[in-house]
Amino acid sequence: MSGTRLVFALFWLSTAAAATPPDAVRQQELVRLVRQDCGSCHGMTLQGGLGPALLPADLRDKSRDGLKAAIYEGRPGTPMPPWKQFMSEAEAAWIVDQLKSEFPR
């Protein structure tokens, strides 16, 4: 019984951690990072440049995990670098969610 509860608690903790969105200040930083720094290849308006466009329509058929991995780990063989030294995996996932809906200004 206590074992089940422990597993449940661990499960709850892990999903809670993954789902915790960055706080408002951090969100602002991430938005700026995406628009300004990702923007140097993908365009400040995310309509693409040397890198592909990142508007919701462009990402509709792409998996959330694949996109998160592209941000976090980079894409070998392309100019896309890994951004893991500047964000957590949860933050990369938050960016993907924002990109897939409508990215904040």
């Binding site: 365009g43 400040m44 308006t45 309509q47 440049g49 040397l50 670098p81 500047f86």
Partner: protein
């Protein structure tokens, strides 16, 4: 007789009034600053070291650049959204604006000043416009395989109303001859993996395309194009693992000084030094980040370097005689671009995240002033009008 005298007086007064409202002035010390986020440009005077006008309505100016008419009066601003805007620096107004593509990355102007050419990502190719009217003259798609179009990078003017550029996806260097502006002819040269930008040397002879997908730079002798493009600086990374590149370097803007070319390494925190007589590597200079712009002061005594994220608050200054960094400082946040005064006594730096353009004395490295600008990026002075490859 009396009426004639009165008329003369009236005319003279009118003339004086006209002169009073718009005093004559030249354009040699003017320029513009791109304000990337707000679609504005700020017009500046490099003698007064002040802004004198601001113009809006230029669309998406992230990664925008500008070239000048031969008289330095008109700037042609290439916006990211494909907008091409002709600005009169003397009257401080937009003369004409066209949307020429969906996604653009800059442009260039012909040797005779009559043709403005834009380079585009979408649809991939170049387009030529009449510099007077912005009427479309010709279009050269960057089709590198049947039905496949490449993003165009590194477009630079060369003597003979030619333009050299590279195809990022196609791995080619191309030279398009616009001596007959409506019927251009194009030569193609295999260049290497993923050219990311290019430059024409100050004498107009060589076109260099930096390669992202491999260690090396492709070089084409425009005086002997039949010899084809060859690679220089091959394997400069010597197989070592590359550092991540968080922003593509730029080659445009002369980095040729004292018989040597200073080029950014890719994925290495180094500036590569090449002898332009032999095109052999003669040195490397360690710097504090991934170089983005490596630009020589007009006299060639110094080379200034800015960096990709996350080191984009830093600047390193190389003394070309000493062959090393002699001054390193942190002028502001998000230093995106720099431009030297025509003869190099000052350098202007855009500090994007500080919303300022900073003006520095290049000899003493002291700050002389600053200009407010909304997320400034590119800075372009009219002295570019008289330079090949700018």
């Amino acid at each position: 007789m009396k009426t004639l005298r009165a008329l003369t007086l009236i005319l003279a007064a009118a003339l004086l009034a006209a002169c009073g409202s718009t005093p004559l002035r030249g354009t040699g010390d003017l320029g513009l600053v791109i304000e990337r986020a707000s679609g504005h440009v700020t017009l500046v005077d490099t003698t007064a070291r002040q802004a004198y006008a601001r113009i809006g309505g230029l669309g998406d100016l992230s990664h925008a650049s500008a070239v000048y008419s031969r008289d330095g009066r008109y700037a042609f601003v290439f916006g990211r959204d494909g907008g091409l805007t002709k600005i009169d620096l003397l009257e401080a107004r937009i003369v004409k604006r066209v949307m020429q593509s969906g996604n653009a990355i800059g442009g260039s102007i012909s040797q005779d000043g009559r043709i403005v050419v834009a380079q585009n990502y979408t649809p991939g190719g170049i387009k030529a416009f009449d510099a007077e009217t912005l009427e479309l003259l010709a279009e050269v798609p960057a089709e590198y395989a049947p039905g496949k179009f490449s993003k165009v990078v590194g477009l630079a003017d060369a003597p003979g109303n030619k333009f050299a550029y590279a195809l990022f996806d196609g791995g080619e260097i191309r030279v398009t001859d616009f001596s007959n502006p409506r019927q251009p002819t194009t030569q193609r040269f295999p260049a290497g993996n993923q050219p990311y930008d290019g430059l024409v040397t100050p004498d107009g002879r060589y076109f260099l395309a930096g390669l992202f997908g491999e260690d090396g730079v492709a070089l084409l002798d425009l005086w002997q194009p039949e010899k084809g493009a060859r690679k220089i600086l091959e394997n400069y990374g010597r197989g070592q693992e590359k550092l991540p590149v968080f922003k593509m370097p730029h080659l445009r803007g002369w980095s040729v000084a004292q018989g040597k070319a200073y080029l950014p390494a890719i994925g290495r925190h180094e500036v590569l030094v090449v002898d332009v007589a032999t095109w052999k590597e003669v040195g490397r200079i360690p710097v504090r980040g991934q170089p983005v712009f490596v630009m020589a002061r007009p006299d060639g005594h110094q080379v200034w370097v800015n960096f990709a994220f996350p080191d984009n608050g830093k600047m390193d200054v190389i003394d070309t005689l000493a062959g090393k960094v002699v001054h390193a400082f942190e002028p502001g946040k998000g230093i995106l671009h720099m431009e030297f005064a025509p003869r190099g006594e000052t350098v202007w730096l855009s500090a994007r995240d500080d919303n300022k353009v900073l003006i520095y004395d290049t000899q003493r490295f002291t700050k002389l002033g600053e200009i407010a600008a909304d997320n400034p990026s590119g800075i372009f002075f009219t002295a570019r009008a008289a330079r090949i490859g700018f």
